[in-house]
């Protein structure tokens, strides 16, 4: 299992979509790295999230790869990760931040 942190705004993502995202993230990690994810789902309290000084509608998903990732592969995976998140939630890509880190940076 590899660590995955999801930071979302409170009330923005329904429990049904959260469940679908959890499943999708696990599938993504299995496909990309051959392992599952241990998800830390964190909700930013209402009135507590700001992007560019304005109330935030952004979600961040951070995955720590089990091994160092070549940048070409990382870029493709990041695109898949964020597009998959956006398609599930209906958010735009301007509202989704994805991070795939190498293990040494954890």
């Amino acid at each position: 299992m590899i660590p995955c942190t999801c930071l979302v705004q409170e009330g923005q993502i329904s429990s049904a979509i959260e469940s679908a995202l959890r499943s999708k993230l696990d599938g993504f990690a299995h496909e990309a790295f051959g392992v599952g994810v241990n998800i830390n789902w964190i909700e930013v309290p209402k009135t507590g999230g700001f992007t560019a000084s304005k109330p935030s509608t952004s979600s961040l998903v951070l995955i720590q790869a089990p091994v160092a990732v070549e940048q070409d592969k990382r870029a493709v995976l990041l695109g898949e990760l964020c597009n998959g998140w956006a398609s599930e939630t209906g958010q735009t890509l301007n509202e989704v931040v994805g991070v795939i880190s190498d293990p040494a940076a954890a």
Binding site: P45, T51, S53
Partner: protein, 133 residues
């Protein structure tokens, strides 16, 4: 990115103070680094287990793109800590702040891998990301 995540003791940072601190964070980060405001996220939590307070009243953790100088990071820490002190009334000694460097190439935002520090204008033009006011 950057993501500034602030955990605080319950009630230590009022609802009125949060947007003021968020405005300061955005201004300070952009003034110091030259980054566009659209990239700056400021999230506030209370008693959040993922970011222990370790005896402090507030703990601000900034995940910023790698490539900033030590002087830039020190200035960010000094000014954001002062903003929390000013708007929330928390004594400086009860505020902890750290930053961590994240390589830009690890981050995807606005539909593309993030630019290296200093390459934002070209990136924004290419990816049509609308900076905030």
């Amino acid at each position: 990115m950057p993501l500034y995540s602030c955990n605080a003791a319950p009630g230590a940072i009022s609802e009125d103070a949060k947007p003021k601190i968020a405005v300061d964070i955005t201004r300070i980060h952009c003034d110091v680094t030259g980054a566009p405001p659209a990239f700056v996220h400021a999230f506030f939590f209370e008693d959040a287990p993922h970011q222990p307070l370790d005896g402090k009243k507030a703990f601000m953790f900034g995940s910023i793109r790698a490539g900033r100088t030590d002087a830039q990071k020190a200035q960010i820490i000094e000014e954001i800590t002062a903003s929390i002190h000013t708007h929330a009334g928390i004594p400086l000694e009860d505020i902890m702040m750290l930053t961590s460097d994240t390589p830009a190439k690890w981050v995807f935002e606005g539909g593309a891998v993030m630019p290296e520090p200093g390459e934002e204008a070209e990136w924004l033009a290419k990816h049509h990301h609308e900076p905030a006011d």
